[in-house]
Symmetry: C2
Subunit: 155 residues, 2 copies
DNA sequence: TTTTGTGCAAAAGTTTTGCAGATAT
DNA sequence: ATATCTGCAAAACTTTTGCACAAAA
């Protein structure tokens, strides 16, 4: 039989992490975590606010951003910035993959497996640098756009 | 003897690019270009505004941002976003290199040569994807910080 | 002279902050 | 009981936009 606290449940782990530091486990924090866990890939601050409101209509922007700060301090979440400059958050990089983004058509693909290894490998070997794959977005031109782009003399 | 228009001068080339498209070459645009060319690495929008003002005190934010848009359309400048979310601009990626950034100590290194090739190579071969190196920042933990970091259970 | 660019001022959009009241422990 | 959170409202900041005037070609 299972214990009431499932050790594999990320939400439960987060709750424990909060409590272990004397911080409180509130409905808002739970809602925000649930959204993050349920999201595949990135979520912007604004999306997070909207989705969290669906679960707890009282959730306000300030709470969301403050919670995200805490989550990031706890190492449970990390954020980067999209091409529009807005923050993009993601939880527990369970699926350790990066992204490939075409600057022309805006399409994206995931980078994982061999490709990921080709990128991280040399840096790890030569520099001892551990790449945070989930934070990685490589941009450029995809094969389709590469043909029909005449611009960018400098790139 | 040299021609009056030095073909190697990036400012002159920019001026020609503008005029070739029926766009005007103004003191403000010149000032902004000079700042960009004179900057090593990235400049944020706000920095650009301040520095351009030193050369032409009349320069306004709107002009700076509008000029940057144009420069980007012309392929003379590209931008990305720093970890604080602000835009970071850089001119003519003459030195085609990416950046490596440690999330803990914030130190950065350049990625070029073999390392750059290791990263771009597989993507080009397998996907025909042309990486925009000058837009690339790989983050993670450097060898020094990697040892002394206990946090980030998920990373 | 005509088209394009600039300055000004206000707006937009995301994220932050202060404070009084509410809540988890 | 009390230290921590939340909501609210206003502010902070960067970037964008509209419009009348100025300047380049």
């Amino acid at each position: 039989m299972k214990p009431t606290t499932d050790k594999a449940d990320p939400i439960a782990r987060a709750r424990d992490a909060f409590r272990a530091r004397g911080m409180r486990w509130t409905p808002q924090r739970r809602a925000i975590l649930e959204v993050l866990v349920g999201a595949s890939g990135h979520v912007t601050g604004v999306e997070l606010i909207e989705r969290a409101r669906l679960r707890d209509s009282e959730t306000t922007p300030s709470t969301v951003y403050r919670t995200l700060d805490v989550l990031e301090e706890l190492g449970l979440v990390s954020h980067s910035h999209g091409h529009d400059g807005r923050e993009e958050f993601h939880v527990w990089p369970v699926s350790r993959h990066g992204h490939l983004a075409c600057e022309a058509c805006r399409a994206t693909w995931e980078i994982e497996g061999d490709e990921a290894l080709a990128i991280t490998g040399s840096l790890t070997r030569k520099r001892g640098f551990v790449v945070n794959l989930s934070h990685l977005t490589i941009s450029g031109l995809c094969s389709e756009c590469n043909g029909r782009t005449g611009a960018n003399p400098g790139l």
